[in-house]
């Protein structure tokens, strides 16, 4: 179909194709809404959503909400990631610790984190703590078990070589195990960050004063579908940016692994 090889190469570039996929949805969205087939209250057009978005932005609500949500995710996830790293490494290197904790974590991991929300509200009220805790509960066990697995896959030759070169104890962890698992750890964080981001929205839908999730549930009360769409799109965009950030970090810090 496409004759020119240069054009063809351009069209096959992953970024171009990706943008094309998104554009397609926008076009369909635009056509259905502008044809007048659906009630604007149900499905606002792209223009209306853009308008609602810029309104929220100008009032400062959008930035405030985004910051509130990002803060919660960041806090909960940093605690989760920071604790998962040493515990995961300990489980991966020490069989006793592994046998002790793996069944427990394997069990809790399968309890859906949102199911903890009522309990967390009873215990910690409606402030920040329960939301941060939720993100912690929802990601800590996955983080730990995935880091443990990464440690178990460190080739024994690498550790044994360090031993025969005179290495012992902590330097083996910091200079052999840690660099080897670094790419997997970053990838683990990237994957579980997605669920942290999902969870904060869920928590805010249930109870919060501000945040992107809170804004969506408010919009529902006033039937402002345009604002719901703004919320959804912003949530998606921030998630995408975080994901790309992790990928970028991985490419910079662990270029040897590609």
């Amino acid at each position: 179909m496409v004759r020119s090889p240069a054009l063809r190469r351009f069209l096959h570039h992953p970024w171009v194709l990706g943008v094309l996929g998104i554009l397609m949805v926008f076009v369909v969205w635009f056509l259905t809404t502008s044809s007048g087939m659906v009630d604007k209250l149900f499905l606002p057009g792209p223009g209306a959503v853009w308008q609602a978005g810029t309104d929220q932005f100008q009032q400062g609500i959008l930035v405030k909400d985004a910051i509130a949500s990002i803060q919660r995710v960041f806090l909960g996830f940093v605690i989760s990631a920071g604790l998962a790293l040493p515990i995961g490494i300990a489980m991966g290197t020490n069989l006793t610790i592994c046998y002790l904790l793996e069944p427990l974590m394997g069990l809790i991991r399968y309890m859906p984190a949102p199911a903890f929300i009522p309990l967390l509200i009873i215990y910690f009220g409606l402030e920040e703590l329960p939301k941060v805790m939720l993100i912690f509960i929802g990601t800590f066990f996955f983080n730990t078990l995935m880091i443990m697995d990464a440690v178990k896959f460190v080739p024994s030759e690498l550790v044994e070589t360090a031993l025969t070169l005179g290495g012992r104890g902590l330097p083996i962890l910091t200079r052999v195990v840690a660099p080897f698992i670094a790419p997997q750890v970053l990838d683990t964080y990237r994957i579980n960050m997605a669920s942290a981001w999902n969870l904060v929205i869920v928590a805010e839908l249930v109870a919060a004063n501000e945040g992107l999730g809170k804004r969506i549930s408010l919009a529902q009360r006033f039937l402002r579908t345009d604002e719901i769409f703004v919320g959804l799109i912003v949530i998606g965009l921030i998630g995408l940016i975080i994901d790309l950030g992790f990928r970028f970090l991985m490419r910079r810090a662990c270029s040897w692994a590609n």
């Binding site: 030759e157 690498l158 070589t161 360090a162 070169l165 005179g166 660099p179 692994a257």
Partner: protein
């Protein structure tokens, strides 16, 4: 340097699963010697090496290095594995420097020694390359340089060329022979290739499996001035055939 392996046995597992892997292994290795252990798969060659390296403890018997009993791994026994042993995130030079920096040597000393040993293995130009950018043969040369850099008393080589294809293997054998001649290192080489053992080692122990034991020892006296010539010379081929026959009969008697 004097390595003494005395009546070493090793079994793995407990109770009913207990399996005797090595039975009553004894030999000695002295400075400048090049020794090889040859045997079929599962005859316990790697286990012998791991015991000497201190990565495993013998179930019975003792291993002494210069009069001191081996109890744990240490940099006086350098080890080269068959594969996967370079640190993939470090360059060739950083890999060679790894042991030195683990030992906390000074920066200048590390730099100097790293350059020296990279040069010894002929890889001065590859200093900045990552392992994945090196061929299999080059990777093993880096691994050898890394083991040599901490100046071990004995170099333990566990099928170091086993994963390489034939041509590279032959040139690596010549490389190792030259290295031994020029540096005067002491080496224990594990291989299941009789030709490789005869080409390089002054003493060759033949091992039989189930349980692993030394069944035959040859002291090899051959003119090693030209390995390529030696490979196809009559006495070499005869010796090789004789040992191959022994190995075959060992395997045959077990079937």
């Amino acid at each position: 340097m004097h390595l003494q392996v005395s009546n070493v046995s090793k079994s793995f597992g407990e109770g009913r699963d207990r399996k005797l892997v090595l039975e009553d292994i004894s030999f000695e290795l002295v400075s400048g010697q090049f020794m090889a252990l040859v045997g079929s798969s599962g005859s316990g060659k790697s286990t012998v090496m791991r015991l000497i390296a201190g990565l495993e403890r013998p179930s019975a018997g003792t291993i002494h290095l210069d009069g001191e009993q081996v109890r744990r791994p240490g940099s006086d026994r350098g080890m080269v594995f068959q594969k996967y042993s370079l640190y993939p995130w470090l360059t060739a030079a950083q890999n060679v420097a790894f042991g030195l920096s683990l030992q906390g040597r000074g920066k200048a000393e590390i730099r100097e020694r790293t350059a020296y040993f990279l040069d010894v293995v002929g890889l001065a130009d590859a200093a900045r390359l990552l392992p994945r950018e090196l061929s299999g043969g080059m990777q093993q040369r880096v691994a050898i340089a890394r083991a040599l850099a901490t100046e071990p008393k004995v170099l333990l080589l566990d099928e170091p060329f086993g994963a390489l294809d034939l041509q590279i293997r032959e040139s690596m054998q010549e490389f190792l022979h030259d290295l031994w001649k020029t540096t005067g290192l002491t080496a224990l080489l594990i291989t299941h290739d009789i030709e490789e053992a005869l080409l390089l080692a002054g003493t060759v122990h033949i091992m039989a499996p189930r349980p692993g034991r030394i069944v035959h020892t040859v002291s090899v006296q051959l003119d090693r001035s030209d390995l390529r010539h030696l490979r196809v010379s009559q006495p070499f081929l005869e010796l090789r055939e004789e040992l191959a026959g022994r190995l075959r009969s060992l395997d045959g008697s077990l079937l």
